[in-house]
């Protein structure tokens, strides 16, 4: 094909499904996993509590919970539900599982230290994270008008990724890019898809990831936060 041929394609020409089918994915997975959404909620509360504690064991536990969330949303939402209508989602599913595996290794192997933040700062970080992670899922409900389309952390990829990025800032900068690369790629893919589908409200989810991930590449935590 010539360059002119390629330029004649629009973003939506690469999508083989419409917004109705995409938004139904959220309803379907919620119907199918019911009532196990409770586990996702417990995971969110646990991570918030662990962010408040901020000790070495808490950091390891946060990473293990994040690892479980990445594997669950990758193997479930991406590979079982999204993949059959959009093949790149299956490739992302495998990447999510790999990311989960890397997070597990990092949790168990890295020599984590206690965070240098004061208790009040840790409390703010934990509660702030919980409030945002609990509110963002309602964007999908606002888009569809259907409560069953709630996009929970650990179950759906956009929420899992957006909620993970702030926690990944505990990694030192020299290794952090390894863990921020996939969130960045996912955010770009998700934004392009939502834009082409005309689902504007949900663009907030990957936009949050994108902003946090770009900031994460630049942000440098205090030395005491880093594994040695």
């Amino acid at each position: 094909m010539t360059d002119a041929d390629w330029l004649s394609y629009s973003l939506s020409d690469f999508l083989m499904f419409g917004p109705e089918v995409f938004l139904r994915l959220f309803v379907r997975i919620n119907q199918d996993v019911w009532p196990w959404q409770a586990i996702a909620v417990v995971m969110m509360v646990l991570i918030a509590g662990l962010l408040v504690r901020g000790n070495t064991a808490a950091k390891r536990a946060i990473l293990l919970l994040l690892a479980a969330a990445w594997v669950w949303s990758g193997a479930g939402f991406l590979m079982e539900y999204y993949g059959p209508i959009n093949s790149p989602a299956t490739w992302f599913g495998w990447a999510f599982i790999l990311q989960g595996s890397l997070l597990t290794v990092a949790a168990l192997v890295c020599p984590w230290e206690r965070t240098a933040r004061r208790a009040a700062q840790r409390w703010q970080a934990g509660t702030g994270w919980l409030v945002v992670t609990a509110l963002l899922p309602f964007l999908v409900v606002a888009q569809t008008g259907n409560w069953q389309s709630l996009a929970l952390f650990g179950i759906t990829p956009d929420l899992t990724v957006a909620a993970s990025v702030p926690c990944l800032l505990m990694f030192p900068r020299r290794v952090r890019w390894v863990f921020l690369l996939l969130p960045l790629l996912w955010a770009l893919f998700s934004m392009a898809t939502l834009w082409a589908l005309g689902i504007r409200l949900m663009l907030v989810l990957p936009a949050v990831t994108l902003v946090l991930a770009i900031a994460g590449f630049r942000f440098s935590p205090r030395p005491a936060q880093s594994p040695g």
């Binding site: 004649s8 020409d13 083989m16 499904f17 419409g18 209508i85 959009n86």
Partner: protein, 307 residues
């Protein structure tokens, strides 16, 4: 004035209503047959309105949406449609079509058209076999090369498959007005039964060379993107139809757009895609009634261009 019905009249009217609901084609255009065109290479007749699956039948494992798409397909058959066109590029569309055909037990009603979409020129037979299995049919009526991809190798295999009776017709496709000069070259060279290209009231480049060439070479034409991927409705649905639309046989925008296409003498069939039964009914309305003549076609194109 009050109308007094006898019991017999009332029951007859009730029965007629019930029949019309079950067989919409009977009431779509009283006394008129579906408009058909002959496939030049065989003389076999095809209804001029077919059905595509792009972006509509790719619903994955969503049972609710599979059932809805099955109702769309059922409506298509009830109105007298036969040609259904799909592609392995369209995600799960072939699986969903197979499920729908099974549910309706409609394998003998469909004129099945699909595409070979593989860079590997030796994958023709394997992909055709996979698609046949998904649709639950013994052979495709029409097998096409998708967007000219590895067309030389696939065309040779398709010729052999046709000679062996594994497919009935062979063709090649393009869309969005791309690679028309390449397509023209292939049409001039090879024995093709069908070409598929984009043609609608706004995208009319095919009128310059491809459509006259198809007539000259005796090649059937399937027009894809008849609504420009839905853009025509988004742009013009808020506008009213011209007063003379009824004279051209059009009572809504879907009929206007589709009848413009299928009234071109070189076009065999247009393949709109939809997710909704009521839209399918509107589309199938274009299968009945009058077709615009050449003067009316020019007027239709001018009217849309002027909006």
């Amino acid at each position: 004035m009050a109308i007094r019905w006898s019991r017999r009249q009332f029951l007859a009217a009730l029965a007629a209503t019930g029949l019309s609901l079950r067989v919409p084609a009977l009431m779509a255009a009283p006394g008129q047959k579906a408009i058909t065109r002959a496939i030049p290479s065989s003389g076999e007749s095809l209804p001029v309105i077919g059905m595509g699956t792009w972006r509509t039948f790719n619903v994955g494992g969503d049972e609710q949406l599979v059932a809805e798409r099955t109702r769309v397909l059922k409506t298509f058959f009830e109105w007298g449609g036969t040609l259904v066109d799909s592609s392995p590029m369209y995600g799960s569309a072939d699986d969903v079509m197979g499920e729908a055909l099974d549910s309706l037990d409609a394998h003998d009603k469909v004129f099945s058209a699909n595409k070979i979409w593989a860079r590997d020129g030796s994958a023709t037979g394997e992909q055709d076999s996979t698609l046949r299995r998904k649709w639950g049919i013994e052979r495709f009526d029409l097998q096409q090369i998708h967007n000219l991809l590895a067309w030389e190798s696939h065309l040779e295999t398709l010729k052999q498959m046709k000679a062996d009776g594994d497919i009935r017709y062979l063709g090649i496709t393009t869309s969005h007005g791309r690679r028309h000069s390449d397509l023209a070259r292939i049409m001039e060279q090879g024995p093709l039964d069908f070409v598929q290209l984009t043609y609608n009231v706004l995208d009319r480049e095919a009128e310059q060379r491809l459509l006259p060439l198809a007539r000259e070479r005796g090649i059937a034409v399937i027009a894809n993107r008849p609504f420009q991927g839905g853009n025509l409705f988004r742009r013009f649905q808020s506008e009213s139809l011209p007063g003379w639309a009824e004279e051209a046989g059009c009572s809504n925008w879907a009929e206007f757009f589709l009848k413009f296409i299928v009234s071109h003498p070189a076009v065999t069939c247009a393949i709109p895609a939809t997710t909704r039964v009521e839209h399918m009914e509107e589309n199938m309305g274009a299968l009945y009634g009058r077709l615009p003549d050449e003067q009316q076609r020019r007027r239709m194109a001018d009217y849309v261009a002027g909006l």
